[in-house]
Symmetry: C3
Subunit: 679 residues, 3 copies
């Protein structure tokens, strides 16, 4: 009855990456070490259970000389060693960063930032995504690598470039401007259409010719939001075009699956992965806990659900995460004992069938020398290595989970376009950020035990019991309509403030917010009334809220809660339009309730929607089920400080114990129950 | 006996804008809408009482094509529609922002910031004030517009450009450097004189030729303060020259009054409006509440008094404010119900005879789409529109106030040059900002019921009972002398710390601060001793203070209060030189007392000065009187959360009730009493 | 038995600056004043006791015209006046800042910052240290000045440039890049060696030719840390080369000692003064209290000890400090009454034999007009001047101290290279800064009464009872070995966390931290585990700690204290390897204890080491001894708010009183005891 994320025809038609049970993998950068270390490394990989190794990620400057000649001897050797050990290779195209001789010869490759100044070599990704010179050199390298290894039996996966757009997503150089113009021409056809889309009649911005248009470089005032939004779209497309170009070259030589590592995480927002996902043969993600956030583990859970959404529900690959600290945050915290295993299984619970790490052996030089690795600076006589051994063993024990899927009654709409439009320069409140709103709802849903698919706006929603729409500021008309259709078919909806305000072109829909869902929700918002950060709003129910109020009328909806004070005192804070004739209910949240209140509201909404939930979940306890033809597996992930007893019946795979009614889950640990069919 | 701000001969000689009662007006940007909306808009303007509409503010890219041809059809139509409806037109010259074709053709127009990088089109005001190319194109447009509409009967006012200098006041390009050199040559005559004025003998900065001088671009260390100060003067003058040039072109075709909209507000400091005010035929101001400040309403009251000062006491025009939130602050708060009316009447009470709004109909695209308007996105079925209708009705009811003037016993000296010199790079304490000091004194004066004229240093002060001089760091010798003259004639003075320190060339006057007023005040300050932000200083009186102390000797003054601790423990904090032989008293404040202490001190000072005050004023209650030949009007503005009773006798114009001893002023409301002559 | 800092052969071979007792001196910039003032100034200098005056510091634009001609008339006169008054001259070469005509003619001299934009004239030091054009012009000026005054009897010291590198230490222009390449070539010989040193195999950064290498301009990601580190070394060397070039020119004309003013202070880190110190004929330092710090006086004490270390224990010169506030901090606090004297004597106690001030007479114009001076704006009728007179008298009374030396049992290792490597872009915790760690240890040592030499890593340490090594992240192998050698010879050691991690090339030593001292300390650290700022860690001893923990094993050491909670709960926080066979003990601190705990730990460490301490020292009381052939002098510096009694026997030089068992030291005052030989 529930409707998992669908697999498209397109995905079925292409090569498919075959996970071997749950793959345990890592990045390996052997160029850093004497060849004498390589054999020891491969032996240790076998010991710990590594089955998939990414190499040649940053290989360019090792492989190619300024005269164009290529030296594959090192790569030949390492691939051979891995293959001999039965380890599969995830082969990088090596184009992630150009070698110094290339940017010296062609400085026009270098990226330009918004103030018009150049950014220089010395780090990584010092290239403009629109540079034809870079593209030519990169594709020539890909051609040579793919020709050499396209039929190599060790190669199980191609890895295009690396973290495309991590640093260089937005380039403002003249070449980028030319490409942007071509992209705009293709999008709009006529300059008049562009003028209408960007609203250039305001502030004397009307263009008369394509050549007048540039990238949205810094202005003295704020910039045209349509131009900025389209530049984000263009920039995502431009890097996707680079991916496609490398993909096409590889396909000339190899039928092995191809992918690139996404970065579904808090601080990367310039790539619209909804448009990228159909282009990869397996969805792969890099994820690092972000200790700048209030709840890093909640972000992990969301990122994993979103990655599964990108994979249309199919198993995906965690291409990179870390055994311990990273090195690029202000304060790089170590992981607690067991946390590496817990986080690995959290990803697994939410659909990952490969658990890979950056990187195999900790660098002793360079920018990432304080980034953790499977083999730390301390070597194998270390707690980290012992935990890696334990993880390897666990991944073998849970291998049967591979191929199963999460089944959710609840969908949450997520959109990069909405992110871009929400976090724009001039907006009602800079304290209202898109991700915060999304996370707040996702976190509260987790605490209720609901399983959640993260879904692209526009997808068919009729199979879900409930669709949650947090702050979806930009939504296209046709995307909005799918929610109406689902509600008409009995799905319930929960929409939060600032949703549905602007259309595809960032144009406000007038007539009372959110115009596109005004009837669906039975409300009409007259005016936004955000409050200063720190101001606490009291609700009639006794709960509190923050950040936002609005002045609205509930025209065809029950008022579930009201603001007691603040700028919208006496006005509705939570409404519910009760569905008639088989329609679902449509709830609206006009503020951000505190966590407990939000969880309580969601409890009501889920109950009304008849959405299934997994018992015993809570703020510190994730409960997730993966199921398939072979059985059903329940993951209990204890993020809290106390041991807990969880009702369960079946075989616990991590410990091998039989759960005969309950299972004890120690603080910080994970248990995986192969559920009895009766449970 | 009191001496209001005088009207100069020059003002009398020029066209005068005739307010019609209290004008209710707005900006209108019809280019954003289908022509079908225009007729509906004009009808609604009539309904709400709009009498003055600004158009063509950002018209350039609509009017002119790259080949130079002009299309006035849209502007013809809208002016015609307005005229037919009896609505007067405030006609923009349309030069506020160059069209993209112009900056594409002439990129040398683009402004350059202090690090030497360019700022680009895509926002507004992307032009260098010193660009002759821009000037030529702009004046050609003005010529065409003025020729076409110079005799049009609808045109009641010309509106030059828009918010000149809001973003582009300081340009550091080579063209600006050349203009700066010419300006310096005119100011100093010889390079030696410039060297003396800037003190270039320090740090090896002596110039030998004009060509060696540039704009004060970023240096590795701090910059020469004389150069920076003169660059501010130059930049203000350069934009004023632009205004004058447009003015001259208009005058060739039209005798209608001309103005431009000032921005007397917290975050705009680069225009010295004392030099601008004599050039406009009516002083017009744009004012927006700034919720980044601790007390936005206090800033509003000060800005209104300062605007009246610029208008020499004559009625002025509030050219822009907002019905609700703006869109460019970090957190854009909505106005409380009634606040739009209250703020409108606060401006009116302090001298505005026109109350205009940006803008008529809320944009649905572009940078300002979340800026409020008279017709919000929600349309006319909205509380905002209903409050606009109420405001329209009130403005009709108080129309008789038009033409009256505020009469004040107290003057407060304000100077943009002092602002520039105070908030410089290297100074005793960056926590001491000029505006904060000015606001503190103005706010305390409001709480005492004193009416305050804000006056330019150098004006004749002899008519006032009290002159307040907050932190006037830079004061010219001849400006300082006017205070001595007034005190000699019986006016009292209150000077606060850091006043009178430097002369016109930012040169410290040695011999003990503040040398220029040392005798006047009877004190001698040896050393500044600021304290860290957050440090609380205790005074002998029991009050507290912050930010500043100094080590001083009261040579010819009574010590009114002393520092108990801190770096000037035991030294005077407040002094009073008692005037003899008909002189006024001269008070000095060596610190920033807390609000209650400051109000108490001012109470003593005002009493000693014999300055009249309006009863029942307070921290939350403004009481202001406007008076003229036809009568006297008392405004009671209740900014507080509670209703209050105010003693009054007369007709209350907002409600039409008779005040027979008292009038009830609800929380957040304003009442306007036509005072019985006996009261 | 104790081993003071040694004087090198090189120092003995060169001209030596002869202090006359304790020199009292100042900078004098007479160009700012009419010549009429000069005679008055010289008379006042005599009155106050000034014996050494620095002139011509920023003389270039006064001396030289664009045609190259020189006018020495003013300088002749001022030197003559000083000489006639018996005042010695510290003669600036005048090259500190180029005149405007030079940078106008040669804009390629201007410095370039990391984003590639230029910084402009208008301040000071607007020159690239690698500019050959600047060098040529500067040396020509030096040649002329030295030729003219090289034999002048007034000249007692040459003052090269001024605060070299204060603003322009790092230049990223193309000329700097060329010089950087030459420097790298000299350092590494081959491009392969450079690739190995910088670890360029990571991130595809391998260089194939010197021409591919640039300065470490801004990248989109983080930069290669080896490149950044070498750029710091290069930049320090490049300015030192400038110093040497001026030095060589002067030596052609004069045998008078030569120096330049160092800036051993919190915010200057780009000059490795260990390499500079051997090049100057007397070590001179500029020091200003930094009120941005939590404990400015502690930084002063450390800076003075470090300056003495640079001077190898010999008397040094305080070339600049201030009588009161400076002007370049956010909040420029005045000094408390007596604080100028106290700070002067704090420097003196720690080895300064000259106490000089910037500047003689307060400027009334320019960037430094609010910087205090010996003659303030208020003139000589001021407390500041009276305190200057008192200081002059005291310096005469303590003149006999001149030439004596501090004798310390404790050495603290300090390294600019470690500073650079620690405070790099990507590191475990940005909250852990090198100076903070150094200051914490130095401050706790002061509170124990220990006297501390600050010593360069690599120096022979065998003479000390205890060597303290705070956070010495980068240490060369051979430098590390000197600690082992000292401990083997009976010296005790205290090493704190993050020490010994990387080698000369910023390459991590693997195998468990800190590999280079793992055996010395008997520990092995597996993993860093910093904590967020603000998190308080509890120790088993009851103390607290912050910032850092690590997961370690005490393999051959006693565990003195443990973490109770946090990421390393239960693991060692303080360890002690007890020395056998005459070895000293080796202590290790794995965290930053609170101040009281740290002092307690140091108390134990010092007692175990048998290090001598001066009695009655404490958090607010510095006690320092200088001794020589002529006697022994104890300084008691009371930084606290209360008077205190200090045990002493001898003559107190400040007051002339006899201390017969004790001396009273008033709050904020200093007393200097000529100790009876018995005491």
């Amino acid at each position: 009855m529930n409707r998992p994320l669908a697999t498209t025809e397109r995905q079925l038609a292409r090569p498919r990456y075959e996970h071997r049970g749950i793959d345990f993998g890592c990045d390996y950068n052997p160029e850093q070490w004497d060849r004498s270390v390589w054999r020891e490394d491969v032996a240790l990989m076998r010991e710990v259970g590594i089955g998939l190794v990414a190499v040649n990620i940053f290989g360019w400057s090792e492989l190619q000389s300024p005269d164009g000649s290529l030296d594959f001897s090192g790569l030949d050797e390492i691939i051979g060693l891995l293959h001999d050990a039965g380890i599969r290779v995830n082969l990088g195209t090596g184009t992630a960063s150009p070698p110094p001789w290339l940017t010296t010869r062609h400085p026009e490759i270098l990226p330009v930032v918004a103030d018009g100044t150049t950014r220089f070599p010395g780090g990584r990704q010092a290239w403009c995504p629109s540079s034809p010179v870079f593209r030519d050199y990169a594709l020539a390298l890909v051609d040579a690598v793919a020709e050499r290894y396209g039929q190599h039996p060790a190669v199980a996966l191609w890895h295009v470039s690396n973290e495309l757009g991590c640093h260089n997503a937005l380039c403002y150089c003249e070449q980028s401007a030319a490409s942007f113009r071509a992209w705009l021409h293709a999008r709009y056809g006529s300059i008049d259409a562009l003028n209408r889309a960007w609203g250039t009649s305001f502030w004397s911005q009307r263009y008369t010719d394509w050549d007048e248009i540039g990238t949205p470089r810094l202005t003295l005032s704020t910039r045209n939001p349509g131009q900025v939004l389209d530049f984000s779209r263009f920039s995502s497309d431009e890097l996707l075009a680079h991916y496609r170009a490398e993909h096409a070259v590889i396909r000339r030589h190899s039928s092995v699956p191809i992918t690139t590592n996404f970065m579904v995480t808090a601080h990367i927002r310039e790539l619209d992965y909804w448009t990228w996902a159909p282009e990869v043969d397996v969805v792969a993600n890099d994820h690092y806990l972000d200790h700048r956030l209030a709840d890093p583990e909640a972000e992990l859970a969301f990122a994993a659900d979103l990655t599964r959404g990108l994979a249309q529900g199919a198993p995906w690959m965690l291409m990179e995460h870390s055994t311990g600290s990273v090195n690029w945050q202000p304060h790089n915290l170590a992981k607690a004992p067991g946390q590496m295993i817990r986080d690995s299984l959290q990803h697994l619970a939410r659909g990952a069938d490969s658990i890979c790490f950056f990187q195999w052996r900790a660098s002793v030089q360079g920018s990432e020398k304080f980034h953790s690795a499977l083999i730390p600076h301390a070597g194998t006589d270390s707690a980290l290595w012992r935990e890696a051994l334990e993880l390897g063993a666990i991944l073998e024990r849970v291998a049967e989970v591979a191929g199963t899927r999460v089944v959710a009654d609840v969908a949450l709409l997520f959109s990069w376009e909405a992110w871009w439009a929400t976090d724009a320069e001039n907006r009602p409140s800079s304290a209202v950020s898109y991700l915060d709103q999304v996370w707040a709802l996702h976190r509260a849903l987790r605490a209720t035990g609901a399983e959640v698919d993260v879904v692209r706006p526009g997808a068919d929603l009729t199979g879900y019991r409930l669709v949650v729409v947090p702050g979806l500021h930009l939504v296209r008309d046709e995307e909005a309509a799918t929610l109406d259709a689902a509600v008409a078919a009995g799905t319930h909806a929960l929409v939060t403030f600032y949703s549905g305000i602007v259309d595809e072109n960032d144009r406000v829909r007038p007539g009372g917010y959110p115009a596109v869902w005004r009837d669906l929700l039975g409300i009409r918002v007259e005016e936004f009334a955000p409050v200063l950060p720190g101001q606490v709003l009291t609700l009639e129910s006794g709960g509190t809220a923050s950040l936002w109020t609005e002045r609205m009328v509930a025209r065809d909806a029950d008022v579930v809660d009201r603001f007691v004070g603040g700028p919208a005192a006496g006005m509705p804070a939570v409404t519910r339009r009760r569905g008639a004739d088989g329609d679902g209910d449509a709830w609206y949240l006009a503020t951000l309730p505190d966590e407990a209140s939000l969880t309580r509201i969601l409890d009501d909404v889920l109950r009304a929607a008849g959405a299934s939930r997994l018992a015993d979940a809570g703020r510190d306890v994730d409960v997730v089920r993966r199921a398939g033809a072979g059985g059903s597996y329940r993951f209990i992930i204890n993020n809290g400080p106390d041991d807990l007893l969880h009702s369960a019946r079946g075989v616990e795979l991590v410990t091998g114990e039989i759960a005969d009614g309950s299972v004890r889950v120690p603080a910080g640990a994970v248990r995986v129950i192969r559920e009895d069919s009766s449970s």
